[in-house]
Symmetry: C2
Subunit: 146 residues, 2 copies
């Protein structure tokens, strides 16, 4: 296999995203053990709303790297659980603004603490400068493909 700088065995786990799947599973487990009912995907929506509340669904698509139907259904489920509400935009009738409820605001501190704890479990024994390199490389990969 000429012109191929990557051996096969190395290819698989990168494509498979082993590491990020393992992190997501551990975070979900940590949520469950803390008695939290939400999924990681739902949490990722809340995460962006905690940073900036009342985003449009389109903006959530961009920030969470998901397509529109995925966001529609995540918001449906979050709305059922009473964690967000859709409010029509006053200036553009096509737009829903997705806003946090009080219940969702109450989850912020605990879930962010669990997320930080999970990342610490994941990164145990890894040098800080290596983490920096990983972040840089993964960002470059994303930019190469977007």
């Amino acid at each position: 296999m000429p012109n191929n700088q990557f051996k096969r065995g190395e290819l698989y786990s990168v494509i498979n995203g082993m590491a990020s799947i393992a992190v997501a599973r551990r975070l979900q487990k940590n949520f469950r053990q803390a008695g939290l009912e939400i999924t990681i995907e739902q949490w990722s929506i809340l995460y962006h709303l905690w940073k900036e509340d009342c985003l449009s669904q389109q903006e959530l698509c961009v920030r969470t790297f998901r397509d529109k139907p995925s966001i529609t259904r995540l918001i449906d489920n979050l709305e059922k659980q009473g964690l967000v509400n859709r409010h029509p935009s006053p200036t553009d009738r096509r737009i829903n603004l997705v806003c946090l409820t009080e219940a969702a605001r109450g989850l912020q501190e605990l879930t962010l603490q669990l997320a930080n704890q999970t990342m610490e479990e994941a990164l145990t024994g890894i040098a800080k400068q290596d983490v920096e390199i990983v972040k840089k490389v993964l960002q470059q990969v994303y930019d190469n493909l977007k």
Copy 2:
């Protein structure tokens, strides 16, 4: 937020697995453009069978980091497409051995070439030694959490 060496903004994209999702989407797109009907998940099963044919479903669970129901359904779908067959193990009647068909063997060369091409697109402009660090760190993350 004491005892936390990672700032919040950095957390999200790692958990989200942005980069590996982007790679998987691109690989799927490259398959589709080449006229291939299989999903990345189905391909990942074939990938392991090309390395060693006639594995048990349990062994595929281990090698692909999936649970048993996921493998059951992936094999169901691959069987429908005529790419694998289930053969009862001669020594243990609980076990199905999953074996490639001729049609599946015919996909090996093209799909591995597309996978390599996709990785080259993904890793454009990234130093070889940085790729090595990423692989090492992601393996460590996986080991920390498994």
